[in-house]
């Protein structure tokens, strides 16, 4: 037998809960110190990308061989690279490439994976089986290897890189969306909404999507971290943007590996930029997960 409790109060609280879900989540997020640190890192990263032309002390291609491999300090805060270009400038411009490629690939991945997941979870049946087998196949090709294959196949280029990275994320998004749609389809409150005759579109929009959305938002934030690392990884393998002068963090590293002894800052500084951006999205993603689903909190 259930403990005696008044139903009316329970309902009142539930109404409040759904109304304030996002506000509550935001409030919890702003109290989450690691997430705030993540936001700060992301802020620096985005700021650098957006305002690179304004704040960079030099042009990204500006430099002479005479000036090459100058250690940090003086006129060049981060030193100069192998071509004598200002490293700080190139890192700032590199943020543009990373941000663009990262965001674009995640959006692409979300669209592809989202459609596949929605079809699989929404329609079920053979559509679901086929799509999920496709997802299995894609996930069986480990991580960046899939991206390597796609870039090798489509040839080098920024759009190709975005697509390649998107395809490594898409199956993950598809699985998440499908999973949450399926579990929601059988959940009590959707059944309840159905039983009072709410139209399916309304159920999908008002009940199912917001809940699936929280899972996707978290996954997308975390995927941004991996996307930045993967884009740099492709660049490092020589699969970056076709123009070798493009300031791309991974490519910048490759060029400098031979001079690790003479110019270590050319490794550490772009490396640090990658790490900080990735950590930013990772911290934010974890924070979002905790604040969107308070039950997870420990």
């Amino acid at each position: 037998m259930a403990a005696p409790a008044i139903p009316a109060t329970g309902r009142a609280i539930e109404v409040r809960a759904s109304r304030g879900l996002w506000r509550d989540a935001m409030r919890r997020l702003l109290r989450n110190k690691p997430a705030l640190l993540g936001l700060l890192f992301i802020g620096i990263f985005v700021f650098a990308a957006v305002f690179a032309p304004l704040i960079a002390p030099y042009g990204p291609l500006e430099g002479t061989l005479v000036q090459r491999m100058k250690p940090p300090g003086g006129a060049h805060l981060f030193g100069t690279d192998l071509q004598g270009r200002d490293e700080l400038t190139r890192i700032l411009y590199g943020a543009q490439v990373s941000l663009l490629a990262g965001v674009a690939s995640v959006i692409m991945g979300l669209s592809i994976g989202g459609i596949a997941g929605a079809l699989a979870g929404g329609l079920g049946g053979w559509v679901d089986s086929v799509l999920m087998r496709v997802v299995d196949v894609m996930l069986s090709i480990p991580g960046i290897l899939l991206a390597i294959g796609i870039v090798a196949w489509l040839d080098r280029g920024l759009p190709q890189i975005m697509f390649a990275v998107a395809m490594t994320n898409a199956p993950i998004f598809a699985r998440i969306l499908r999973g949450s749609l399926l579990s929601l389809r059988n959940s009590d409150y959707v059944t309840a909404a159905q039983s009072i005759g709410a139209p399916p579109s309304r159920i999908l929009l008002r009940h199912m999507l917001p809940n699936s959305l929280t899972a996707l938002i978290v996954a997308a934030t975390l995927a941004l971290a991996t996307a930045i690392i993967d884009v740099a990884g492709l660049g490092f393998l020589g699969l970056g943007p076709p123009d070798p002068r493009t300031p791309e963090w991974g490519t910048m590293l490759t060029d400098s590996t031979k001079f690790l002894r003479q110019a270590p800052w050319l490794i550490f500084l772009p490396g640090l930029a990658i790490v900080i951006s990735a950590i930013g999205f990772n911290l934010l993603g974890d924070g979002l997960r905790e604040s969107l689903d308070p039950r997870l909190k420990r």
Partner: protein, 422 residues
Amino acid sequence: MTATAPVPAAVAAPARRRPPDNRLLSVEDLVVRFRTHEGAVHAVNGVSFELERGEALGLVGESGCGKSVTNLAIMRLLPKPAGRIEGGRVVFDGIDLVTLSEADMRDLRGKEIAMIFQDPMTSLNPVLTIEEQMVETIRAHRKASRAEARKRAIELLVMVGIPRPETRLKSYPHQFSGGMRQRVMIAMALALEPKLMIADEPTTALDVTIQAQVLELLRDLAEDRDTSLILITHDLGVVAGMTQRISVMYAGYIVETATTAELFENPSHPYTVGLLHSIPRLDEERAEALLPIEGTPPDQRRAPRGCPFAPRCAWRLEECWTDNPPLAPIDGSGRVITTGPDATHRIACHNPPTAEEAIAGRPLREGFVAAPPPDAVIQELVTRGAEEEPALLDEVVLMGPEGPESTAPSAGGLPIEPDDKP
């Protein structure tokens, strides 16, 4: 603290009918708090009770009122590091468990005091066989070979009515039904012939049809061995035939305690009355709707100012909002008997319902209206509610000046069930 039960008096004037060494357990003014991110949770606020050897005590109350925490505190198994015993004593067989060393306490657990938990589905380790789990219990406390322990385990399984115990020992928990698992738990609890068994809602998770069997088994085995029993439940119906005495808990306090017969005969605390009205009474033919108790237990992150039940109580007086009544004998007699068949009927209430009111489930006095909260209390709730918990505001409105029997709409705009009208 105003809520302290008159324990010193009880200790000063013990029942002389039985020798004093017949007392097995005495919990004195136990205080347990949890330290959480949102502040301290006042889970148990000065609970006192006694238990004789062989006696069975029922501990009853709504979810969250502190029954489990009280008993985990006795076992010193509170979740670490949040849960802490912040005051009081737990004297078991002459030893204060609160100050006992961890090693000595461990020796006691399972051997002298055994515990049976609510959910047999999750209380047994899924990756170990029943044999492994029973044998390790026995061997943790007794020098016994594996074979001897195994023999004992078989005896125990026979005792709790598990067929083919030799083969069943090799099984894993998931291969048993819920009722069978709870029998295994009981067998394991009895393995070392403990002096005290604590059963925390042992049948809540079971099928209704099996509940009675398991309860009977538990009672019979405890009686046969003269083992004391604390039976925790939120269902007064469960304890009726099981225990000699009942203590009713609310918000970390014991609000009423009496012999089982007396409690059912003459429930004297508004909360107990509410509990009795919220269970189907088989003995009453009246097709009267069940009266659920309005509202929910208070937020225990703050020690209540007055009677913790006041916001939900139809009998409350003005002083109830500010003064927490102590647990005192119902007839005001000076002599308090704390255990045994003659235990005193005690309640913590300023305005106990009369016998007729208890039957009706609401105050019958002409023109009586539950006292509205004084301005100071409203003020406190409003400021507190605004800053941290908007839901509390609903409660103020819901439980407002007209008392819980009114149908004032709640803040959510949803009317209270019409059944609730007298």
